[in-house]
Symmetry: C2
Subunit: 357 residues, 2 copies
């Protein structure tokens, strides 16, 4: 099988960690009878510097015509003073809209080797394995009207609209129920139905959908309580499904439970058969860019997610994930996850350790 | 001084914990030359049962004509199937709107006696002392348009509007800057300005206001990052100011950091001279209602907040807070905060211990 993969290295540590992920993909390809045609394109701050836009039209077109997109990270202080429609983050929003990536899967799994990296007590986080399914192309991120409006008295008012239609809720709901089926068959839908109309519709549709998935244990939770419960007793969660904004907040909280966001991949999926985007949860870390200090493992695990969810090559995905486990078991660590008794490696050396494993 | 206090005991454990708070207020009154005229009114599920509405007009009128409102907790499964405009929570939203309570102060302070109750490691939470200043009468809670609308194809769409005007931001901003001045003079404003127009206006106004408070160290943080940072390194925060929805989520997360939400009070304030509402952060805990098991300390500390922020009687507030400290120091605990080596008390006995202290 031959796959066309668009590589968006982005900014900061992006290029270094991307290089490791690509070398890993190349190394495992023959084993699984795969070939990859990689094509690099510009996105984020570096794209703005080169073309005046964070997501050039050619980049989006290339992504649309590929089988999957592997993205590293975008952003950096350098571009923070740009008007918001030109900032690096717009590349993410543009990709989500342009590729119809309505489903964002963010696993937050405690790796036994890194359990001490968490700020939570061992007994609280041991065994935590949460998948946040976040709606990614609707809600307040894209709702209209939006803007800053001036009333007759010259007073300005900032406005955004949080909205979901029934089909939008059903679509992400199905992804969540199907995901739960492949895991512990437990789904918690998070909303703010005690205050928001949009959440009432959300809850009604998810409940209705639940009838089609009687094998999945469905519960509902308010978003404020969910933020508490993630801290209080995170083991209660298997799959969480929620809207764009709540998912942004809760998936970051869930990620931080692990204490090692340098380890966490994510997948953003559209309609079946369309290309997804696979990227680490962490940012572009401009402070350590180019210093061979970055942790490439989230990028490598994002490549594994690409194989599993984007290309349906789960054997190859398993193989990469096992290599990561092996390297961690052998005590090799980058600086961000370093612990006493372990061996500290740079980004490149970590890549070599992965290839050896 | 004579103060007219409206008591809203609400539902569940409300009456038991309110009784303790009232007895404490009565006990300290002579010491500070205060007299309290308490008047009880219905709110929440019990008000619905008695009058058909969770916030009867007489209750709101009584609150409006008093010097302060002491509220316990509302809600319970019994009323969960009511249409949303009749549910107990509407009493809270109605009080906030009816009394113009635009500023919600939620302290989350680690008490050294209870540090082990936290799910976070001791070294991470030791000394944490955060005040969340949440805007309470604007944002997506009250923004229009809202509702569930059906389009020409019969597809329904749930809609809420997140909006802030300049004066709304300035008003809560001032409360936050003033609060920071009385503490560590460090203020973190939380928004989602990389995506939301309403947050861009928010950030612009808070920044502008910052020029009037050059002694306060102001920073800005995105809400997803704030949810992470509360877990990663909570000691970095002094005062957090944010909108209604983000404040709902983050103040609950901050509260849960302490591990003992049975200890946390809150204050909701309107314009100076108007009555505020003072209530615990915890809920009505219907499962333990009437069993003399509830922890009355958050209610008692809410009475202290009432004295401090609502009635400007800080000496009396200090006195109550010291009594709580003494009782904890002596090893007395209710069930929710019980630890080995401590003495477990019921709600009433805890009240008596407070009176003795
Ligand atoms: C950078 C920002 C626009 C983005 C979001 O809010 O979705 C990020 O926080 C994320 O979660 O991918
Ligand atoms: C009960 C609910 C309406 C309320 C809110 O969302 O404001 C509660 O969560 C709170 O924080 O006081």
């Amino acid at each position: 099988k031959n796959y066309k993969i668009t590589l968006l290295s982005g900014d900061g540590i992006g290029p270094e960690i991307m290089q490791v992920a690509v070398s890993v993909l190349q190394a495992i390809a023959p084993k699984f009878n795969l070939t990859f045609a990689f094509e690099a394109a510009l996105a984020g701050g570096s794209a703005f510097d080169a073309t005046g836009h964070p997501l050039p039209a050619e980049t989006l077109a290339l992504c649309q015509s590929s089988d999957a997109v592997l993205l590293a990270a975008v952003g950096g202080e350098k571009w923070d003073t740009l008007p918001s429609h030109l900032r690096p983050e717009q590349a993410l929003l543009g990709l989500r809209a342009g590729l119809g990536l309505f489903a964002n899967l963010r696993p937050a799994k405690i790796l036994p080797q890194l359990i001490d990296a968490s700020t939570l007590k061992r007994e609280v986080i041991e065994g935590v394995d949460i998948l946040v399914v976040r709606e990614l192309t609707g809600g307040i991120y894209f709702g209209l009207p939006k803007g800053i409006f001036t009333d007759e008295n010259g007073v300005r008012r900032g406005v955004n609209t949080m909205a979901y239609t029934e089909p939008e809720v059903d679509r992400i709901g199905r992804v969540a129920f199907e995901s739960a089926r492949k895991r512990q068959s437990t789904l918690c839908s998070v909303d703010k139905a005690n205050v928001l109309d949009v959440s009432q519709l959300w809850r009604e549709r998810i409940t209705k959908l639940g009838a089609e998935y009687p094998d999945v244990k469905l519960s509902h939770m308010y978003v404020d309580n969910a933020a508490m419960q993630l801290l209080r007793y995170p083991k209660q969660f298997d799959v969480i499904v929620t809207g764009n904004l709540f998912g942004d907040i809760l998936s970051d909280a869930a990620a931080m439970l692990t204490g090692s966001i340098g380890m966490l991949p994510s997948a953003s999926l559209g309609e079946p058969g369309k290309p997804g985007v696979f990227e680490p949860v962490h940012g572009s870390a401009p402070d350590i860019a180019g210093k061979d200090l970055a942790n490439p493992l989230a990028q490598v695990l994002s490549a594994a997610m690409m194989l599993r969810y984007g290309l349906n090559e789960s054997a190859a995905a398993d193989y990469i994930e096992q290599a990561v486990t092996k390297v961690l078991d052998s005590g090799k660590r980058t600086g961000d996850i370093m612990a006493s008794g372990c061996e500290q490696l740079g980004c490149k050396a970590m890549g070599e350790a992965l290839l050896a494993a």
